[in-house]
């Protein structure tokens, strides 16, 4: 039932405490947190650094702006509203289409303009932000995700999480929503995590609720056929987040847009540990390998190449 802690240590499984004490506290300077904790700031910084992000339609910062913003939504077919300071995917409202006066969510539920108004109002009041701080609502283009992933997801956008340590890609996985997870890409709610070979972008293992699976539970699509396109672009995009955020240990969340290619959705200063289960390997050994590196003054391309060579098999 319980794992042997010594076996976990031997395998290099990173625990929450070790992540917090040895990596986040040591390599992530707190003064750089506001940039990643505020998605609006992240987006601005990414645009400045030439990193691709979903197009920003508009920002609503005050309650009185909601009314006038609502009129603009009527012209839109698809969009996403997210709190700039939300965490863990809380408060993200995705609209995939219209049905008369009503807006359609990926689940097929329709909601009214009033519901959108209330959602924005809650967002501005800080319901979804850390510590209930006042927040702003960002309206973004909906990502038209690559149709090759259609069968790997249920009602949601599969995203790719890459862990970057000191600028080097360390480990990656794809998160696929399921019926169980209610269309959310959250592993602890039943989404499938697919471990990705960091040097090739091909699938290694797929895990749901901690157990290995071979096919997507809803679409029956086998995961071993998964081969992420533009893998080198994804690696470079995520590795470039190091320069952009100055964070030593980060998780970059990436989506593949049909037309725009890989886009950075958000950067996480405290990425979770489930990636280890999806990859069936611990993070600690890889982190230590990078920690032992002496020459780290490398360009993004050099770092990506080093990681590709390092973890080829």
């Amino acid at each position: 039932m319980l794992a042997n802690p010594f076996a976990l240590r031997r395998m290099g499984i990173l625990g929450m405490n070790q992540r917090n004490v040895d990596y986040i506290a040591r390599y992530n300077d707190r003064r750089f947190y506001p940039l990643v904790d505020d998605k609006l700031k992240t987006k601005t910084a990414a645009l400045k650094a030439g990193i691709s992000v979903p197009h920003l339609i508009g920002v609503i910062s005050h309650q009185f702006e909601i009314k006038s913003a609502l009129g603009k939504f009527l012209k839109l077919e698809k969009f996403v509203i997210k709190p700039a300071q939300g965490s863990g995917g809380k408060g993200i409202l995705v609209i995939v289409g219209r049905e008369g006066d009503h807006f359609l969510k990926p689940s097929g539920d329709s909601i009214s303009l009033m519901d959108i108004q209330r959602h924005i109002s809650n967002t501005l009041s800080g319901l979804y932000s850390l510590g209930g701080r006042n927040d702003v609502a960002m309206v973004e283009d909906l990502v038209n995700f690559d149709p090759r992933f259609n069968d790997y997801s249920y009602q949601g956008v599969p995203d790719i999480r890459v862990i970057i340590f000191k600028g080097f890609p360390i480990m990656a996985m794809m998160r696929c929503s399921t019926k169980d997870s209610d269309g959310k890409a959250n592993l602890h709610q039943g989404a499938v995590g697919v471990g990705l070979n960091i040097s090739t972008g091909k699938s290694l293992f797929a895990v749901q609720n901690g157990y290995l699976v071979d096919v997507h539970p809803d679409t029956e699509k086998p995961f071993d056929e998964l081969d992420i396109p533009q893998w080198d672009v994804i690696l470079k995009l995520s590795a470039a987040c190091y320069e952009m955020t100055h964070l030593g240990y980060l998780g970059a969340d990436i989506v593949l847009d049909k037309d725009l290619g890989p886009l950075i959705l958000e950067v996480n200063a405290r990425p979770g540990l489930a990636i280890q289960i999806a990859n069936q390997i611990g993070l600690a050994h890889r982190l230590q390998t990078v920690e032992r590196l002496e020459h780290t003054e490398l360009s993004v391309d050099e770092r990506v190449q080093w990681s590709i060579n390092q973890w080829k098999d």
Partner: protein, 527 residues
């Protein structure tokens, strides 16, 4: 020194300091480490009586008071004034209480009361410097008789100690006619100890008269006893006088040393001081607190015990919070229990302390449950977040009122204590829970809600432990050690218990590890 080593150094220093200060306080100041230790406390009352002179209305009474000395601890002192002005003085280590009044008539009664704890082995540091050439106050006739007594006693003794004992024996039994003569003569000026003091002076031995009391329970209207302190071989030794006592002086309280009178009354006659003695058993902690407050003027400024009782009781609660915080850190860092809000469980536990767990838990669950139901309705009508939380606060207040009144009607007075629940916390709990319900489903509500409650209940049990409560209030410096433990836990980078469960599936495939390629490559080969 690496930052980790620094933290460990500081943490262990804090732990040692905290425990060290606690032990020091326990041994030096007598604060017992365990609740319930008791100690004997003596209450001594001195009653000064005199008849005020009709011709001279101004009256003044000076009473010598015992000084703080090793072996006794004066815990508290009280005076009655009865219309007198009262001052206390301390000169040359002699403390005096001085009552004075301009217009006194008739019999006067003045009280001085003290509480002290006595642990035997009394050693007065206030003994006078020995006089190498003591003077005897005999006149010519007495001198002959006195010399005869001393010489006889001297012949019948081996050293100074036995000489003193022999002299006491001779004087007490009045074996020799000379004694009767001397005592008769001395009656108006002195007593047996005074006579022996003079006799010893003839042999060049210095001695002094010590007045005091034998501490025995239930004595009333006692005159002070006199004993003799003789300077022998470089130290003052006390000698017992009373024939009906054994020679031990284990429970003799030294009140006054030297020849000065115990009581000095101006403007009065028939002055007298008498003592009553009562022994009580008191909790050692109370004795130590008393001691801290009254005896150690310098330290008492910095103790919680110096605060008014009302603030003290608030502090009693505040001092428990670090314990709760330690429990939270422990359960989150070592066990990995998920809670909603980091220290909210401590606040809930504080509320439980006021209401007791058996009342608090059902009330808490009821309020949160009903609150969630009402909140789910509120989400259907459009409200701004702040207004919605405020609405829940109002509803929570209403629920508390209903619970209080219902329980009162049912005769359960404990229900009234629900008002101690922090309302804003409850309202936020309901709001957060309902958001989690909507966004992540009831399972997460259950996980986080149960986690919070489990942590709160653990905090409650730690914070209501009578041993810990007693320790942190009497030894607040123990929290230095708490801080040290928290620092150490903050450095813990091992696995949480919950992670051993979480990663259990991973470690089962340990033999597959380090070769993750086969599965991927074979499957790729099939493609």
């Amino acid at each position: 020194m690496s930052s980790r080593a620094q933290v460990y150094f500081i943490a262990f220093a804090l732990i040692l300091l905290g425990i060290g200060m606690t032990l020091h306080k326990s041994y030096e100041k007598g604060f017992p480490l365990a609740k319930g230790e008791t100690q004997e406390v003596w209450t001594i009352e001195a009653l000064v009586t005199f008849k005020a002179d009709a011709s001279q209305p101004e009256a003044q009474a000076k009473l010598t008071l015992p000084s703080q000395q090793s072996g006794i601890v004066i815990l508290d002192e009280q005076y009655t004034t009865g219309g007198y002005g009262l001052t206390t003085t301390e000169e040359n280590n002699v403390r005096q209480a001085i009552w004075s009044k301009r217009n006194a008539t008739g019999p006067q009664r003045l009280y001085y009361k003290m509480q002290l704890s006595y642990d035997g082995q009394q050693q007065s540091a206030l003994m006078p410097e020995p006089n190498p050439e003591p003077l005897a106050s005999f006149d010519k006739d007495q001198q002959v008789a006195a010399q005869a007594i001393v010489d006889m006693a001297f012949d019948q003794s081996a050293d100074t100690e036995s000489l003193v004992n022999r002299l006491i024996q001779i004087i007490r039994t009045k074996d020799l006619p000379e004694v009767g003569y001397l005592l008769n003569d001395e009656l108006n000026t002195g007593s047996q100890p005074k006579l022996i003091k003079d006799l010893l002076a003839l042999k060049g031995i210095d001695s002094t008269i010590v007045r005091g009391l034998y501490l025995e329970d239930g004595h009333r209207r006692l005159l002070p006893s006199e004993i003799l302190s003789v300077y022998i071989n470089g130290e003052w030794r006390l000698f017992n006088f009373d024939s009906d006592r054994d020679t031990r002086l284990d429970n003799f309280l030294i009140w006054q040393i030297g020849g000065k009178s115990l009581l000095d009354v101006v403007g009065g006659t028939n002055s007298e001081v008498r003592f009553s003695i009562i022994s009580n058993i008191m909790s050692s902690q109370k004795v130590a607190v008393w001691n801290e407050l009254h005896a150690d003027g310098s330290d008492s400024e910095f103790t919680i015990l110096g605060l008014p009782t009302e603030q003290q009781s608030i502090f009693k609660l505040i001092l428990l919070i670090p314990l709760g915080a330690l429990v939270v850190v422990f359960l989150r860092v070592l066990i990995g229990i998920k809670t909603s809000g980091t220290f909210m469980p401590v606040l809930i536990a504080l509320a439980f302390i006021e209401t007791t767990l058996t009342t608090g838990l059902p009330v808490f669950l009821t309020i949160v449950f009903v609150g969630l139901l009402i909140r789910s309705y509120l989400s259907n009508i459009n409200l701004l977040l702040v207004a919605r939380v405020a609405a829940i606060v109002v509803i929570v207040v209403g629920l508390m009122g209903v619970i209080s009144i219902t329980s009162h009607k049912l005769g359960i007075e404990q229900g009234l204590t629900v008002t101690f629940f922090p309302m804003i916390i409850l309202a936020w709990t309901i709001e957060r829970m309902s958001i989690i319900w909507e966004e992540e489903g009831p399972k997460d509500v259950l996980v986080q809600g149960t986690g919070s409650l489990v942590v709160a209940i653990m905090c409650y049990f730690v914070m209501t432990s009578s041993t810990l409560k007693y320790l942190v209030f009497n030894f607040p410096e123990l929290h230095l050690a708490t801080l040290g433990f928290i620092l150490i836990l903050g450095q813990y980078n091992g696995y949480r218990l919950s992670e051993l469960l979480r990663f259990a599936q991973v470690s089962k495939s340990e033999h597959d590890w380090h070769i993750p390629a086969p599965k991927a490559s074979t499957k790729q080969g099939e493609n």
